[in-house]
């Protein structure tokens, strides 16, 4: 049975649609006759063409929230819209605003939200979602049993974005009810962290460092290697928690999901928390002094050795190739 209607959370920055949104649209098109987006922010008109090209018939937008946070306001608007005619499924990315909005919506509608999924399917009359657990070693299949709408969040890179050649999505206004005191939190300023080189979750090569580097100063060689390989530097949660590098570097369950052509893990043992964020990489190279490190069990090329010896030589060899 095909679904009748799916709503997809459309996220964008600087009028560019987030990749996760396009990925979800590809899946939604496969499952439902009608696919529509909902959105908050000033750029609905600017992204309507892209959303339409990926299969969205309409984009319902709250417009600029004037500093209000998306979670509470967009969820209130959605809950009101769903009251009239609920869709079968509401899809969110496992993003900051996606999780907030899904969470608030679940309370408003008193429906469960199932998070961190990597797939969704229709089986008979049921919508089922698939979530990896224990570092991606097992897959939990869960069905929704509380009636429409089913609310789910999906991990980035779960689906492949693909254009369907549709016309620009029609832009419709989504009314935002007053949330009272609950809506009082505001954004007063936005800070964009400058980064050179490709983005961590888009780079073809990712070089990540972990606790095995020994100390914060030693992380520099990870940056240097990433630069030499025209890739992005990443990190395990251990060294992010320790304050060596910013949170934006983190690869894993918390943090970014990456699927580069090659992932180089240096001094990372391979906690389940980390593995779930990188085991989808096409090729994995791991360097670790402990032959029992779990990361070596999933590496295509595993080096049992000292990162302080291997990495400098690797960097020198790369640089000498120009």
């Amino acid at each position: 049975m095909a679904l009748s209607t799916i709503w997809v959370h459309a996220e964008a920055s600087d009028a560019k649609v987030a990749t996760i949104t396009l990925e979800m649209l590809a899946k939604a098109r496969e499952l439902a006759d009608t696919v529509e987006c909902f959105h908050s922010g000033p750029d609905a008109e600017a992204i309507a063409a892209t959303l339409g090209a990926h299969g969205a018939g309409k984009v319902h937008t709250t417009g600029d929230l004037g500093g209000g946070l998306a979670g509470v306001h967009l969820a209130s608007a959605l809950a009101q819209a769903a009251g009239a005619a609920p869709p079968d499924l509401v899809m969110f990315g496992t993003t900051y605003d996606g999780r907030d909005t899904a969470a608030r919506l679940s309370v408003k509608l008193d429906k469960p939200v199932i998070t961190n999924n990597t797939d969704v399917a229709v089986e008979g009359d049921d919508i089922v979602v698939f979530e990896p657990i224990f570092g991606g070693t097992q897959i939990v299949k869960t069905k929704f049993a509380a009636g429409a709408p089913a609310i789910a969040t999906f991990r980035p890179k779960s689906f492949v974005a693909e254009e369907s050649g549709g016309a620009a999505a029609e832009v419709a206004e989504l009314a935002v009810p007053d949330s009272g005191a609950a809506g009082a939190a505001r954004v007063t300023d936005r800070h964009v962290e400058e980064s050179s080189g490709p983005k961590l979750d888009e780079a073809a090569v990712v070089v990540s460092g972990g606790r095995g580097l020994g100390e914060a100063e030693k992380y520099q060689i990870i940056e240097d290697l990433a630069k030499a390989l025209k890739g992005a530097p990443g990190a395990s949660r251990a060294i992010v928690d320790a304050g060596w590098v910013p949170y934006s570097y983190q690869v894993g369950q918390t943090g970014k999901v990456v699927k580069p052509t090659v992932y180089i893990a240096a001094g990372i043992s391979g906690a389940t928390q980390h593995m779930v964020g990188m085991k989808g990489s096409k090729n994995i190279v791991a360097i670790n002094k402990d032959p029992e490190a779990p990361i070596l069990s999933i590496a295509d090329l595993g080096i049992v050795g000292d990162v302080h010896k291997v990495l400098p030589k690797l960097l020198e060899a790369l640089q000498s190739r120009g």
């Binding site: 920055s13 987030a18 946070l69 979670g71 509470v72 969820a75 496992t94 900051y96 999780r99 907030d100 899904a102 969470a103 608030r104 679940s106 309370v107 429906k111 469960p112 199932i114 961190n116 657990i133 224990f134 070693t137 097992q138 897959i139 299949k141 869960t142 069905k143 049993a145 609950a182 009082a184 939190a185 505001r186 954004v187 007063t188 936005r190 800070h191 962290e193 090569v205 992010v240 928690d241 320790a242 304050g243 949170y247 934006s248 369950q253 918390t254 389940t272 090729n283 190279v285 360097i287 032959p291 999933i298 295509d300 090329l301 595993g302 080096i303 050795g305 690797l314 790369l318 190739r321």
Partner: protein, 259 residues
């Protein structure tokens, strides 16, 4: 200022996880304070300290009488705890968890700020703090990497895809903090001893005025169909570094045409 911190007691993530027959997480071994929560506890202790007075109260739920993780947070310096302990909570989903924790928070008088980790290390739904805010009808700021309180307003640097947003909210409010927001202290010996006698208000779901059949697996509105092994990734070649391993990596990268 009074701060409530939501904490979770989980199986040690260093041990391999396992499921019960009903697909709930095996929690029979020793449970510990989720490391993610130690950041919220530390943040709360620092904020109360800076405000010059007030209490840090822990709120937690468990299907059994487990308190070992709570004792760790009490040893760090929290004053007291509310533990909702009820077999009916086994299999509770994120929304039910939020409803129960919100009701437990209601037992704490004069809570100005409610802190939680962004997500637990075991279930990692990442929605519970925002759902608690929804149930309590409070403002919220999630994914905080820096938190300050002054004049009844909480100011937060909220993590974003591109950097961070500077946000603020009037109190009371719910804030979820990322790992690394502060450096959690280790409990001192004195703290560990003191924690043994700190009050833990243990209540059941019924004590909170919640219908036990509406929470837990029965009320979750979702049902696990099956759990299956994921396709395994095979290990490739593993070599011992003989001083030339870097050349092996270069060859490998050359083969992939990424150089």
């Amino acid at each position: 200022m009074n701060v409530v911190v939501c904490v979770k007691q989980i199986p040690d993530p260093a041990d391999p996880g396992a499921l019960e027959e009903d697909h709930t997480l095996k929690r029979t071994g020793k449970l510990i304070l989720d490391e993610s929560d130690s950041f919220g506890v530390e943040m709360a202790l620092q904020l109360v300290d800076k405000a010059g007075g007030g209490d840090v109260t822990l709120v937690s739920m468990a299907p059994n009488d487990e308190t070992s993780g709570l004792r760790t947070a009490l040893a760090m310096g929290a004053a007291k705890a509310v533990l909702v302990s009820d077999p009916a909570l086994a299999g509770a989903g994120a929304l039910d968890t939020a409803k129960v924790l919100a009701a437990a928070i209601g037992r704490v008088e004069g809570a100005d700020l409610i802190l939680a980790a962004t997500e637990s290390s075991d279930g990692y739904t990442g929605t519970v703090p925002e759902q608690i805010a929804g149930v309590l009808d409070l403002p919220s700021i999630t994914f905080a990497k820096h938190v300050e309180v002054a004049d009844g307003t909480v100011s937060v640097q909220r993590q974003t895809e591109l950097g961070y947003d500077q946000c603020e909210s009037p109190l009371p409010a719910v804030v979820s903090v990322t790992a690394g927001v502060v450096e959690p202290r280790y409990p001192s010996f004195k703290g560990i001893m003191a924690a043994k006698s700190k009050p833990v208000d243990q209540v059941t779901v019924a004590d909170l005025g919640i219908d036990a059949s509406a929470v837990g697996a029965a009320g979750a509105g979702q049902q696990i169909v099956e759990v299956t092994p994921a396709p395994e990734r095979q290990a490739g070649e593993i070599i011992e570094d003989d001083g030339e391993a870097h050349l092996k990596i270069i060859d490998f990268l050359d083969g992939l045409k990424v150089l």
